[in-house]
Point group: C2
Chain length 245, copies 2
DNA sequence: GGACGGTATGCTGTAGGCAGTCGACGAAAA
DNA sequence: TTTTCGTCGACTGCCTACAGCATACCGTCC
């Protein structure tokens, strides 16, 4: 067998490159933010993060800058990095943008998704439903993301799908602590979405996706009504609080 | 007069912060790319750029990473940075995304732009038309960008406008050498767009913006037909060609 | 003649270090 | 008591230095 043949095979499990430290640090910090260990507005001191993660400041700096570009942290020249403070207003706008991007993705996907694509969608959907039935929330959320990502990928527009995935990541952060709602209803919508895509019905696919993401948005806003925003942790530079003792 | 009063005034000419080196480097490299001094596919050696710009490698590295996030360069771990090679296909996709974002922006702007906003739009439009009549292409292009940026800003959705401006920057690169077409026609479309926004007619504003950006896209693709793509400068790592002498 | 392995050389990725700068705190003056 | 100025501490921004790696070159073997 020629190597080129092997290379041609789909997803030959790309060699698990020992990612650069920077990438690892990015993921680590994202994880810290999403999990709430780093709180919104908190001052991220490079040297502390470096020590915490066991690396030098340089990879941390680079990671922070990339994270700034993706909206996770805010960078103030000369002052450092602060975990971004997501306002309700911004979350709403973000969700609106997501709706826009994903609706268009769904339309394009309906236009030109092949059999194979639909098959993969169905597989994911089945997995998601199974997860919900098993009450495995984490798995359900992850599968949900995968499904949406696949829809955008099937749109055939790489620029669009990249943008959408970036937006989706932020959405997940804002809305993860709130999300654990809408279990099965969401997956029923997914199913009819896939039906529309399979039928090549652009209008219907777009409509379903729009309503689907709007439902998410509504549920987010409703939830926010209940637990109001945290009391504005104004992002000031934190003075090193000298630990007594 | 209290300071807070002064601060309240619009655009009190923000103190010309001596930007960080990183930011200066970013702009410098963007300029080098747009102006064609750095060619698509070219290997960007950090130390060379550093020397060229008279700084150390660190700010250059950070700049390259940010530029990577914005799609100007591609970063291959362990291999370095290469100027992104824009394919026709990608440009098409990018223009499609721009159409999507700007159409929605126009719709929202029509929904909620105030008098003041419309006034500023008119002013920009006048400036653009004057530039075209004076055959000042650069100024016309710049004003065009400003106008589109203002429309997205008037949408009231910051996330949307940021995304749109990012996309617009890339579009400008791809399409600047091609753009110098469609002079006055474009500005007539702008005028009717502003009319629609002033009238608060969401549908019409969206429609006009969609057609407007689609015209741009069509003119881009047409132009590309004529001058075919550069012969695939495959992005290989450049071995330092030892200068004889 | 072509393929293979060894070697050399840039380049990247990372670390550590120094100067500049910003904010906070405390003392002095109003 | 409130405001202002000076000082101090800490952090960022940048530079320099080193180790590891990836590629290209080149001699050797098949």
């Amino acid at each position: 067998m020629l190597l080129s043949d092997q290379a041609g095979q789909a997803a030959a499990t790309k060699i698990p490159r020992p990612a650069t430290l920077r990438e690892s640090v990015i993921e680590a910090i994202q994880e810290l933010i999403v999990s709430g260990q780093l709180k919104p507005g908190q001052h991220l001191v490079e040297s502390e993060l470096a020590e915490l993660l066991g690396v030098s400041r340089q990879p941390v700096r680079e990671a922070l800058q990339q994270l700034s570009g993706e909206g996770w942290v805010d960078l103030f020249p000369g002052q450092g990095a602060f975990v971004h403070v997501p306002t309700v207003e911004e979350a709403d706008q973000l969700l609106a943008v997501r709706t826009l991007l994903e609706t268009e993705s769904a339309r394009l996907a309906a236009k030109q998704a092949g059999e194979d694509g639909v098959k993969r969608l169905r597989a994911l959907c089945a997995r998601g439903i199974a997860a919900v039935e098993a009450d495995d929330v984490d798995s359900a959320v992850a599968t949900n993301s995968e499904l949406h990502a696949l829809v955008t990928a099937l749109s055939g527009n790489k620029v669009l799908s990249e943008l959408a995935s970036q937006v989706a990541r932020r959405v997940r952060w804002y809305h993860t602590p709130v999300a654990r709602q809408r279990g099965m209803a969401s997956w029923e919508e997914h199913t009819s979405l896939i039906d529309a895509i399979e039928a090549g019905d652009e209008r219907r696919a777009a409509k379903i996706m729009r309503e689907h993401t709007e439902h998410t948005r509504a549920s987010y806003m409703a939830q926010r009504e209940q637990e109001p925003v945290q009391p504005a942790p104004k992002p000031v530079r934190r003075r090193r609080t000298r630990q007594p003792g």
